[in-house]
């Protein structure tokens, strides 16, 4: 009975992380806004900035990975490999989120010393959608950190609680 709730907890966490990463990808891809600046109209899309492209790619990889691990059978020998892959996926998530936040912060506040003006004043809806995508990425990261600790506790069993 205890093992069933543990496995169910792991599945729920992974499904929630899958949803969060998928939401981040979709929110970032569909963010596109056209604004007119006197006679020039400029389009702001996520692919203008390299950090956002990396964010989309990394979260897409995480989405596919979570979806595949959801269907791993319980007695498979691949679970020890899943621990290592979970660590690498957490690294990927945190690096992509950190890069996207760093660049988005420049877009929102500008950088007075480098002469870079903020762009959020001209494309507010784009900025809001990027913020939503970054929050979804943060939720996915937190869930994956929990999943990592969860996997180590149940797969590697450091306290040697299982008597099998």
């Amino acid at each position: 009975m205890v093992k069933l709730t543990q496995r169910l907890g792991g599945l729920v966490l992974r499904f929630a992380a899958f949803c969060a990463a998928l939401g981040a990808v979709i929110a970032m891809i569909t963010s596109r806004e056209r604004s007119s600046f006197f006679v020039i109209s400029l389009v702001a899309k996520y692919s203008d900035l390299a950090a956002f492209k990396y964010f989309v790619i990394a979260n897409a990889i995480v989405t596919v990975y979570s979806f595949l691990v959801l269907f791993l059978p319980k007695e498979s020998l691949l679970w020890k490999f899943v621990v290592v892959l979970d660590l690498m996926v957490t690294m990927l998530l945190t690096s992509s989120l950190s890069a996207a936040v760093a660049v988005a912060q420049v877009g929102k506040r500008g950088n007075a010393n480098a002469g870079w003006l903020p762009i959020c004043g001209q494309v507010p809806r784009f900025c809001d959608q990027i913020t939503g995508a970054l929050i979804a990425g943060l939720v996915a990261l937190v869930l994956y950190v929990f999943l990592l600790i969860f996997s180590i506790h149940h797969v590697v069993d450091p306290f040697l609680l299982r008597k099998s």
Binding site: A50, A51, T94, S96, L97, N113, A114, K163
Partner: protein, 195 residues
Amino acid sequence: MAKLALAATSGKSCKILLGLRLLAFSATLSAAIVMGLNKETETFVVGKVGNTPIKATFTAKFDHTPAFVFFVVANAMVSFHNLLMIALQIFGGEMEFTGFRLLSVAILDMLNVTLISAAANAAAFMAEVGKNGNKHARWDKICDRFATYCDHGAGALIAAFAGVILMLIISAASISRLVQPNKCCSTTASPSVVP
């Protein structure tokens, strides 16, 4: 003192792990120091009044950009963590490495891997914007005017990425030590259950 060091590094895997930790410590420390001391001052001509040019002095420092501040702080924290683990390995050879201590080392290593990868990537993408500019957002590049600043920043980034790779290997080694508890630096046996 020599006996302590010898006891701590008995076994080839111990020596390799200690060497890796020393390398990671030096890489992250040098990244933090090089970026922390990164500063360049240049004077440019910004206009002309009649025939005399007006000069203005601009400074490029690392703390103008929050991503670089995070980079310096995170690298300092990770190098301190590595120093602590080295000290634990050399001077803590008499302590029992039972379940909780081994687990806390593994979890701390994992957290530091994520921290350093986040810091290195944030600084890398900010440096890319500074080097190439962004014509969609109308941000000019700054590396053509502050070449030394950019070079030092690039060196610090390379050191930090070397630290990322080393920390990943160290973290994998720590997690594998959880599976086989008698492998390294535990002079007394941990719970003798066959894994």
